[in-house]
Symmetry: C2
Subunit: 180 residues, 2 copies
């Protein structure tokens, strides 16, 4: 390890966030501090219907003070496998079950100050059902062709990182399948 | 606004992070709490040489306890324009100046609990110079062909969200230029 931990301190332990401020020794021997948020990890799922539609959820995001369009997603419960979490969140937020959950890799949203690992899946072979969001969760389901989503990503109308990454990776994957 | 702020509280004010816990009223009238990190915003720059090489920086990221490969990036200073920040960070971290800074949009890294807006640019027409990182910043410059970076993204070897988004958007942009 290139930075040595000298001391750990939890400066905030909330319901969601757990914030640390650690004293560290850098490569050059200097002392410094590292402030960061600990997160249990999350999963995002891009549900793609057989006719090329992506299912998105629109919800109010308090930090930005507005509604955002995102792929369904949720936090890992303690000890939960990402795939299990993805199947659960897909069902809760969209009502869908998927015949295939194809891994799209793992992203680190903002590695300077958060330790979250966010696992992404492409869900295909969907069977529709009834969504069952949490009581205090308000989601609008929005459906759009993958091509439209990609256009809106390239024209900077979609900002959520996991949604952008999942859509762009899915496009490449489908192209490889098509040519492979 | 769909969630009404009843009370704001700063629960941690560090050198980097500023953490809030607000009391809010939800759409259904229920009371709830929102914990989130405030961030000044950031800029990431994908520097692409005339012969198709991407310049990346490798650095130790304390929250993950390992080194990560990322595009050059930095935080916005107070009142700074993203483009000005991008030009500054590109110069500091790689020594390069760019003839063109093409906007690649803005991403929200993790909208549930952070308010960061991260502006992305593709830098082209590069002129090399001397890097000048901060005294306590340890960066290794790594160069690889854009095609190699894209392969490593698709095979889940590159995790940083801004790097993944910038490379995938750049690939689409170049393809559009080529066909347009």
């Amino acid at each position: 390890m290139k930075e040595k931990t000298l001391q750990q301190e939890t400066v905030f332990a909330g319901k969601l966030l757990h914030v640390r401020r650690d004293q560290v020794e850098l490569e050059n021997g200097h002392k410094s501090e590292r402030e960061f948020c600990m997160h249990p990890g999350g999963v995002g799922i891009l549900p793609l219907t057989d006719d090329g539609q992506v299912l998105l959820v629109e919800q109010f995001r308090y930090p930005y003070g507005c509604e955002l369009l995102e792929i369904p997603a949720g936090k890992l419960e303690r000890g939960e496998e990402p795939l299990v979490c993805g199947i659960r969140e897909l069902k809760e937020e969209t009502g869908c079950t998927a015949r295939e959950m194809i891994p799209l890799g793992c992203i680190y949203p903002t590695p300077g100050y958060v330790d979250e690992k966010l696992y992404l899946y492409l869900a295909r072979g969907l069977t529709r059902g009834e969504a069952s969001p949490d009581e205090d969760e308000f989601l609008n389901l929005v459906q759009m062709p993958l091509e439209t989503l990609l256009q809106r990503i390239m024209s900077d109308e979609i900002h959520d990182a996991k949604t952008v990454v999942s859509a762009l990776k899915t496009a490449r994957l489908l192209k490889e399948e098509h040519h492979g």
